[in-house]
């Protein structure tokens, strides 16, 4: 058979995560700063259009401030998941969604609170742990079902409809299972050294607050978390997998070292006061076209309505004309007219 002759690609390398969601840290910084400056330019222009001079006093958020706010909402995901008793997979998936969302959007356009709620709700469904929207929003203060639904498409689009996420906690579990079967494993390791696994798992949870998953593979993050909990166990596993002195082992060690730094620097709790200050400023600098009821918002809606009206009229004229020409059922296709995309109401 033709396919069996080819070398099989590792499963992970065939994933959309491997293909589309890995960046260098420089890359990440670049993406965030260009999103930030593009948003600032648009918002400035909108503000000026409605009240000339009004944008001068506005202090826009920096990319780092945006990130700080996102980080706060990542930590809120954990709290909500604890409350709803969602499995870890839901939590980890929602965190990945939120991070990926802000590689395509900025907090000045979309406040992370509702995006977070939508990302989490979407994650319950994509991981096969669905709950009804009512049961979800009823348990979250000041949240209506529409807050979640309105953003669902936007979140799904931002994710490129790529819902599958490979998680580091699964990799850590795999490493832990390996460690129980390596030749050097003492009997009853699962029992005697379980607190090391638990400690590694805590580090891994901290890694979710960092950019680690956007840069490194799940198993690299898992190994780094283990290494923070027990360098000996991590070394034992690595030596079992790679021959001593092999170039891949030393490369792995340097990767693990950088992930450890990343995890440690993100394990400090978020400074709530600093975030509150950012959030206050965000109220003044967010995109007015997205503030329901504002002049800019109303103007944008009116423009959209005008375009829709125009389209409806055009459609009506086309039909009239077709009837007039007597070819209502005739050569529509040969003329190359496509079916209308917006026939929602059929």
């Amino acid at each position: 058979m033709a396919t069996s002759n080819k070398t099989l690609t590792p499963l992970y390398e065939a994933s959309t995560q491997f293909k589309n969601w890995r960046h260098s840290s420089e890359d990440l910084a670049k993406i965030r700063s260009s999103l930030n400056s593009a948003a600032v330019a648009v918002i400035r222009q909108t503000l000026e259009a409605y009240e000339p001079g009004s944008s001068l006093a506005v202090s826009f958020l920096t990319p780092d401030e945006e990130l700080l706010l996102v980080r706060l909402y990542i930590s809120k995901i954990s709290q909500l998941c604890g409350f709803f008793r969602f499995p870890e997979e839901v939590e980890a998936t929602a965190v990945s969604y939120l991070k990926r969302f802000y590689l395509k959007n900025t907090v000045m356009d979309w406040h992370p609170k509702n995006v977070m709620l939508t990302a989490l709700f979407l994650a319950t469904k994509t991981t096969n742990n669905p709950i009804s929207l009512e049961a979800y929003t009823d348990n979250i203060p000041k949240t209506a079902p529409s807050d979640v639904l309105e953003l669902e498409f936007l979140v799904a689009q931002s994710l490129g409809f790529e819902f599958a996420v490979w998680h580091a906690h699964r990799a850590l579990w795999g490493i832990w299972l390996d460690l129980q079967t390596v030749p050097t494993a003492p009997p009853d390791r699962a029992l005697l050294e379980s607190e090391k696994y638990d400690a590694a798992h805590r580090h891994l949870r901290n890694s979710r607050l960092s950019d680690a998953e956007l840069i490194y593979t799940p198993s690299q993050i898992a190994l780094a978390s283990l290494s923070l909990a027990s360098p000996e166990l991590a070394a034992e596993w690595a030596e079992f997998k790679f021959p001593l002195g092999s170039p891949s082992l030393s490369r792995l060690q340097s990767i693990v070292a950088s992930i450890k730094t990343l995890i440690q620097s993100s394990s400090q709790p978020v400074d709530v006061e600093a975030v509150r200050a950012v959030d206050l400023r965000l109220k003044l600098c967010k995109n007015p076209e997205k503030v329901v009821g504002s002049k800019a918002y109303l103007a944008k809606k009116a423009e959209e309505e005008r375009k829709a009206e125009e389209k409806r009229n055009r459609k009506a004229t086309d039909v009239q004309q077709a009837i007039a020409e007597g070819d209502l059922f005739g050569d529509e296709l040969t003329r190359g007219l496509a079916v209308d995309d917006d026939d929602d109401d059929d």
């Binding site: 999103l35 959007n105 469904k125 096969n128 669902e152 689009q157 529509e332 296709l333 496509a338 079916v339």
Partner: protein, 365 residues
């Protein structure tokens, strides 16, 4: 407009919808094409607005798995975009399915043809299972056939991941006639073996040209299975009497498969029986099935391009001007969450089809 919305609009523009080919309660399927190349595609428009919980689970599953799975024997998801309150899946265009082919009395299947379809089914399924994905709805009308004869597994609306011990799964999956006994007995922990049972049923159906185990209700399904394969003993299937919904069904003797499948080779019956083993852990895996002696014995599998095709499939390759009259009527409403055009509209035109030369590949197909 936001960058994300703009990107979505750009994608939408790349695909043109032509005629509607089917409509169901939750989706409409269009025949369409890629604007830049003219390549034929199927566009499945899922109406999301009507769901109070937003994007529904089967749409999410389909998108999630098809986004990841790229294989010759799995339907390709080319693109996804949204329009207003609809989700649109752009899928490769496939003009028929195995059910249509099985039902087409004008077609004769050689053992080599059946072997070819089985090989392609197992290849696609092995790829799903290798990726830790259960399909959970294998049946002939979810095995679609491309114009070059390649078989593609479609409809991942019930698919899910597996391999995590201790996670309960629902037993309300797989269309009844293709559902394995462990699910009928209410098992909530199961494996890739459930899909293998379905493939076994499809294998038998290809030989019989009629569904092999067609029960009238869930209870009758078990009876039908046991009547065909004998009531399992504790030795055949240890522990099955402890399954949640176990009920004694009655004692039926084992009859050799040979009695029903009189013309089949020993290899054929061996592989079939290994797909239909009661004990799920002993049922053959897709990977092992691919190296079963059946696939290496004479006659070798037919080349996909030489497989029997429905008349509908032949006319589907025609340019539209060749078809007379109202081909665009919306009368064909028998959409069972499937992606191909129903045969009805074109079947009557097979007379036209036969007069034309189909040996040349059509551009864009």
């Amino acid at each position: 407009m936001d960058a994300v919305e703009k990107a979505n609009a750009e994608r939408q523009k790349q695909w043109a919808k032509d005629q509607k080919v089917g409509e169901g309660t939750y989706a409409v399927v269009y025949r369409g094409r890629e604007a830049s190349t003219g390549r034929k595609v199927a566009i499945k428009k899922i109406k999301v607005g009507q769901f109070k919980d937003g994007l529904d689970m089967s749409a999410i599953r389909e998108v999630k798995y098809l986004r990841e799975l790229k294989h010759q024997n799995i339907i390709e998801l080319l693109d996804v975009f949204s329009s207003k309150t609809n989700l649109n899946l752009v899928l490769e265009f496939l003009d028929s399915d195995l059910e249509m082919i099985i039902k087409d009395r004008a077609l004769v299947f050689l053992p080599a043809d059946i072997k070819s379809w089985m090989a392609m089914t197992f290849r696609g399924l092995e790829f799903c299972h290798r990726n830790w994905i259960l399909h959970r709805d294998l049946k002939p009308n979810n095995l679609l056939i491309a114009s070059d004869g390649q078989l593609k597994i479609a409809d991942f609306g019930l698919a899910r991941e597996f391999g995590d011990p201790g996670y309960k799964m629902t037993c309300q999956v797989i269309t009844r006639w293709y559902r394995p006994p462990e699910l009928l007995f209410g098992s909530r922990y199961y494996s890739s073996a459930v899909d293998i049972w379905s493939v076994g049923c499809i294998f038998a159906e290809l030989m019989l040209r009629t569904p092999y185990l067609a029960g009238e209700s869930d209870m009758d399904q078990l009876k039908t299975i046991f009547r065909a394969l004998g009531t399992p003993t504790e030795q055949d299937w240890p522990g099955h009497t402890k399954l949640p919904d176990y009920v004694p069904i009655g004692q039926f003797p084992k009859t050799p498969l040979r009695d029903l499948f009189t013309a089949a080779s020993a290899d054929t019956l061996n592989l079939l029986s290994q797909c239909l083993v009661y004990e799920p852990r002993k049922r053959i895996a897709a990977k092992d099935a691919l190296s079963h002696s059946y696939f290496f014995a004479h006659p070798y599998p037919s080349h996909p391009s030489k497989l029997p095709k429905c008349a509908a499939q032949l006319t589907a390759a025609l340019p539209l001007e060749e078809l007379d009259g109202n081909t665009l009527s919306g009368k064909t409403n028998r959409l069972k969450r499937k992606l191909t055009s129903p045969p009805d509209e074109t079947k009557t035109r097979s007379a036209v089809a036969r007069r034309l030369d189909f040996t040349k590949p059509t551009p864009g197909s």
